[in-house]
Point group: D2
Chain length 343, copies 4
């Protein structure tokens, strides 16, 4: 941690900062510069003291600003865990050389819809079936999902078509129920900082897909992962799904694909991309799926629906089955071009 003093800070103000740091049994290093003095903390700061110390030093007279040198996340950091994390569920590995595609409807609407989608995505190469049973919707009057009935259908479809399943959980008290029906649990963007939920998932045995909040910085996203990791669950899959857009005229969010190489550099966790929610428009999903793989993503999470114009949720961004089928061929070519496989 570096405390930059104001250019006109007095010697007493500087000494007070040094004394405050020393009072925590930390070593303060005075660094006079050309124009102002900076004070560094030259010892390891206990994690639970990090933010508090920055805040209290920042409020002291004569202090211009406080900058962290270390990173707040440890378990998620590649610095302390250099090897890539590979997560394997029922034989499907995420984070290895093979690019993995999860596909299916936004919301589970019924047996016919789900099973038709499941059959198709399996046939064209998806390894994971996605489908929402509990749908968080901005508008309280919109369709909110089938709930437990949806979960049962998902489990059955996964078994019938030999697909790993993933579904969203929005309430930590549903954990046992959801975990009994799905292989992978997903935290949506709106819940990225729902700490009771993250903490509960940290105690689960299933892998967790953690979507990035729409205004979350990379560090806030990795700290949300840290919540899960800190409870003992080491299987976190990060999912970029678009950040707050400049305008919503043409896409719903701005897919931040540079997050893929950035997170790959900072962390050992697998990173997948959801182009459907980011674009909000099926016309752009194919381009962004190819771009995601080219950028280094470990997988994709896509919305596929047998009949998008009749979908109860996100019809505008869902791919038809035939579009999905031809896209998968293109994705294989792109994966191969960047040295990855996609079966």
């Amino acid at each position: 941690m570096i405390v930059a003093m104001k250019a006109d800070a007095t010697p007493d103000e500087i000494q007070a900062v040094v004394d405050r740091i020393t009072s925590f049994n930390l070593k303060a290093l005075n660094m006079p510069g050309g124009e102002r003095t900076a004070i560094g903390i030259a010892s390891a700061i206990p994690p639970d003291l990090r933010e508090t110390l920055a805040e209290l030093l920042g409020a002291m007279p004569g202090v211009d600003r406080v900058t962290h040198v270390s990173r707040a996340y440890k378990l998620a950091s590649r610095e302390f865990h250099p090897a890539d994390t590979v997560i394997t569920v029922k034989g499907v590995s995420i984070g290895a050389n093979e690019v993995v595609v999860a596909a299916g409807p936004c919301a589970i609407e019924g047996r016919e819809q789900l099973f038709e989608a499941a059959k198709a995505v399996k046939e064209h190469g998806a390894k994971i079936l996605r489908g929402g049973a509990f749908k968080p919707r901005t508008n309280p009057y919109s369709f909110q999902g089938l709930g437990i009935e949806g979960l049962k259908l998902l489990k059955e479809a996964g078994e019938q078509f030999d697909l790993v399943t993933v579904t969203e959980i929005i309430d930590q008290h549903d954990l046992d129920t959801v975990a009994a029906h799905a292989d992978i649990l997903q935290v949506g963007a709106r819940n990225m900082q729902n700490y009771p939920l993250l903490t509960a998932l940290g105690k689960a045995t299933q892998p967790v897909v953690l979507k990035r909040g729409i205004s979350a910085t990379i560090d806030e996203w990795l700290l949300a992962a840290e919540y899960i990791l800190a409870q003992g669950n080491e299987s976190v899959i990060l999912c970029e799904r678009g950040v707050h857009p400049l305008d919503r005229e043409h896409t719903r969010y701005t897919l931040d694909l540079s997050a893929v190489p950035v997170v790959k550099t900072l962390s050992h966790l697998p990173v997948i991309v959801d182009p459907s929610h980011a674009c909000g428009n099926w016309r752009y999903v194919a381009s962004m799926s190819k771009a995601a793989i080219a950028a280094g993503a470990d997988g994709l999470l896509m919305e596929v629906h047998p009949d998008p114009p009749r979908a109860l949720c996100d019809g505008s961004q869902s791919l038809r089955i035939e579009t999905f089928a031809s896209l998968m061929k293109e994705l294989r070519a792109v994966a191969s071009a960047v040295g990855r496989s996609l079966v």
Copy 2:
């Protein structure tokens, strides 16, 4: 709802959109323009169909874009509820002529700290005591609050100093406990779209302070209020607390004070402002508090701590008691200048 067709849409594409609208027993109105055709829906669209219909029409061939004419929120809208909502708790009214100040520490750290703060804020004119028992923290290693012990202290302090109390709830399953100890329940910015929590609060009897999410549009915020109102709880107090900033170099968030007159125009609900979290720096809190009242806010939510440099949370943005005392005098002058009282 208006469906703008592409300039080169074919007559068949236009007819298909008209037919689709008609299939829902809605009336479609064809409106040829100078350059393209627009199709309006000239009947009331059921609330649960609104988003779904927009999505499915948006996915049809030849469609350029779909625009809503009506607003998705009804219960929160001033159009259908012209009179201001005034919420009264233990004799304190929020949303009436008097500007109401809620003040206290970010986190309850112990009896001495809380009671010293409570005594002081009461003495200088605050009507509501704020204090966090469950603290959502970005960093999992930071202090997370005293929990139930904190709630008990809050209740006791409220009673001793005759202050209404407000505290944050982060898990709907804590509702009974939190509601038993506090007069007003607060939803933090990170939970603005935590729908299970909003739904539970909609069934509560206490008023709810609903903070705006840091990247929530005004409409998304009012829809979050709609979740609570739709369950029957009519006492929602909106709280602006800063939106995603251009940079975090000088303030933590950007306080969007124009939200105050905008929300006052769109909705009948009271609006208060939290300058402490928005600024993240006590040096700017006084200016922004005065500005909030001048902009028309019904109240303020401020952090006051007897000893900010020793605070376990948000020390950098908390006001000292003497600063709070002198600020209250200035706030009275500003309130009076805009025709409001502040006792």
Copy 3:
């Protein structure tokens, strides 16, 4: 400048950074921390080396990131110029105790419109007449201003009604012409980083109103002021006019009023606020004007039009004369409440 090394940086990588710093005749200070090493530069870095050095150190192996401790702007900084700058033009002082209002039409449309506006704003207490002759418009087909004819009208109106005048300049090669007709020159938000224009204005003798770019950070804004100051023109008035909004549904931009106390802390330059462009809707202008003064602004820049529904530019955000008149009374009360005068 602080160079934070990666946690796994090698001694050779650390030494290479030290050597690189030393090669510029700067003193490097090694600061081992609990988890990684930071290297500080403990001497004054020449201004022209600042960014280059940060970039080249940032690109070296083993470097995690580079943070500036000093600020890039010097002439604009209060640290090196503690007293408030007060700019006086024809007897009107900006930056002193009195709050100054500049008002008038967005675009000068003709003699009658301008003179009617000038007469009215003078009568109700404005000291400065604003009016655009060269209008930068997003849409190339929109009205672009009257040009030189507009300037002549502005000069005449200023003289007739004894008002200081301000108008926008969009091309440095118009400087002589614009300067011959107006007392204060304005740089619009779109041109905040038009460096040839800023450099030319740095050599002008008139004061310059420098609007903040819609996505400019505070530091970028102060650096734009530095461009002008560095050429010798010490009379720069900063103008906050709204930053990129979360959505454009209700306001055109988000007025960042916290910029007022932040800039007042960082710089000695006067700060005014343009609520009209920020809101884009006259309904919110009164609230935000009062808030701006309460926040500490030294003045306001407002659009007033004798007949807004017939305005050729920004009719939706212009105040009618009677609205302006009653607002001025309210502004006087708010100014007085915060210890300022408004004649």
Copy 4:
């Protein structure tokens, strides 16, 4: 254009809007809805009336909001110009099947640096040499480019290595000089809304690379292109280079790759991508270059420097020559995977 009235608008207010529209010889179409009335304009609105009319209707009593149905840009729109525009300069075509790479140093620093870079980028497959002579810099004390000396070197290097050249122009009065030395003229992000510059370039005979402003919406960007096209210059190449980021901790901007398919849908103009400025860090440039091509970009604009740690500008984001050479091989594979060539 659609005018949505408030739900409680009176018949007189509705009629006044209809009358106002009719007064411009436009046809108003009344469309009663379930909850409010909308009024459509069912005739072609003259381009110079578009914004003015929207503003004045928006300011009328009883009006809730005004929405455009048509798009403001015409010449840039694919609706009126379905075929892709292909721009050919000295035998190099941009916008055709072949992906074109422009590479070179951020700033021209001297003969040796530029010629070394030119030789290398030519050898590895770039068709265009980039190099800045006039550098717009946020900090007034940073290196601002070699000016005319730089232009001469660029021209000479282009001739010697048979490369098309591109350089930035920041002042319309430099047009003749810059145009005499470079084949393609570039407008930087800061100047995207510098209308005198755009207008001047509209009269030039060279193609123009128009970078997207960092907070420009897609529509604002296309309107900036419209400024150039409206003057008769049909050769505009759009360049995505990153938009305002959520934080600047890891990348300088957020590369908005979804802009590529969006613009390809809306417009017939070629689109290229500058991953160097967006990332601000060479480590992420390779990933984002591959992603850009996979997303459908017609070309790349990249910074390559023979010795990045000694660069006077943007050293942190420039690729070394050997990195560029190996990247070009990967780019060929990706281009081929998406059905494009890259020679």
